[in-house]
Symmetry: C2
Subunit: 247 residues, 2 copies
């Protein structure tokens, strides 16, 4: 199955959100991670200009959001719902961290719709809402201060979903740099050793140990082709400085 | 080394932050993940009531924040600095995703101070600032909309740091429930099979296959001791209903 279809099979459900700004920030968080289906169960204020303002480039998620009058309605068609929990609970749901929760969500979302369910800013999900979920997921937090902002919690869970789907791959050009070949590196090391002997830093009768340590430094740096040329230019000038330099 | 010391060895550096609210939200994000050392390089407005308001329970991080006039000053004493990048860059720093970045940061922070460096809201880190860093880390994001809020980026990176230090362990009581023993489960299954035969659902001469499928359902549910008692109560009543029940 196409990865885009997995993203499409995942909805975020916000229950009884008090602050419209949090709805906007949550939409922005979702969209940065490739999620787009937002469900709102009885939001206190929605639509609201503050939500739109904080959504910035994710206002389309707010326009397409589904407003529901119950969690059960918001879960229509879902095969699996994960309740996000911030508190210790004396309840017999299975509890996992968000990384494990995201892994399970993505596995099911490969073939069926699933939901990530978030409670209110003040008290999270009610027990009745938790009973609509098959799994509880928790963000490991500082036990002395575990109060993540709602949108921050949506950001972390959406991030884990994206990591699970894309395996953490970065969408970047890798064409930027050309690494130096082995021959270029060996040419540089020979040039370097020769130069260090000429300036009296290495003892030509026993250059080995120090030379190896210096090679190791450059080896860790994973030199590019252009950088080898640059360094050899420095080596050349260090034994035969330019005459009449003006600077 | 004590895990708390690893947290103590990690500082978050925000460069030229424009909106004081973002400084407050970033402080909250850090504290929820157990980080506490905040460095601000030339913040546009600080201290500021908006920062304090959005920090909620993390106002102590703002009070103890170190304001610096250069990134170099903010990195004093650090053995390693990770630059957070949101853009593709034609620059020859090594680039990893935040999970890998956090793993490396934590490894070094076990013995020496390290820094996580964030740029401005509009344009991220300058090239000069990146040159103070040894590694670039990026949050994998939707290529069509990759604009995370600054505090959201701090939240994700701080979360990955916490996951790397604590290995994702949740700080919760596990004393809540007592799982059913094997004997209790076998007693229940025997009771169940007997009941299903009595009500005519199972054929007593060949009960095996259907019985196995039903067992599998309850096996996946990982029944608790109390739940087994509850289910056996139902079984008992299903063959000998209470007389004269009023409801």
């Amino acid at each position: 199955m196409d990865k885009q279809n997995i993203f499409n099979n995942i909805r975020v459900v916000l229950c009884q959100t008090s602050h419209p700004g949090n709805i906007g920030s949550a939409a922005r968080a979702m969209k940065t991670m490739g999620l787009q289906h937002l469900y709102l169960v009885n939001p206190l204020h929605f639509p609201d200009p503050q939500a739109t303002s904080l959504a910035t480039g994710a206002a389309d998620l707010l326009e397409n959001a589904t407003v529901c009058s119950s969690l059960s309605e918001a879960l229509t068609g879902c095969a699996f719902a994960i309740g996000m929990s911030a508190r210790k609970r004396q309840i017999s749901h299975e509890l996992v961290n968000v990384r494990e929760g995201a892994a399970r969500a993505v596995q099911i979302a490969a073939s069926q719709p699933i939901a990530l369910v978030f409670g209110t800013e003040m008290s999270g999900l009610s027990n009745a809402e938790l009973d609509c979920c098959q799994l509880l997921a928790m963000i490991p937090a500082n036990p002395e201060y575990s109060s993540l902002n709602l949108a921050a919690a949506v950001q972390v869970m959406s991030y884990e979903i994206r990591m699970a789907i894309t395996e953490g791959r970065l969408e970047v050009d890798t064409t930027a740099t050309e690494l130096a070949t082995n021959e270029a590196l060996e040419g540089f090391y020979a040039h370097l050793e020769d130069t260090l002997i000429k300036i009296g830093y290495l003892n030509p009768s026993a250059p080995k140990k120090l030379s190896e340590r210096i090679r190791r430094i450059y080896s860790r740096a994973k030199l590019e082709k252009e950088e080898v040329n640059l360094l050899r230019g420095i080596l050349t000038l260090s034994v035969t400085p330019k005459k009449h330099t003006k600077y």
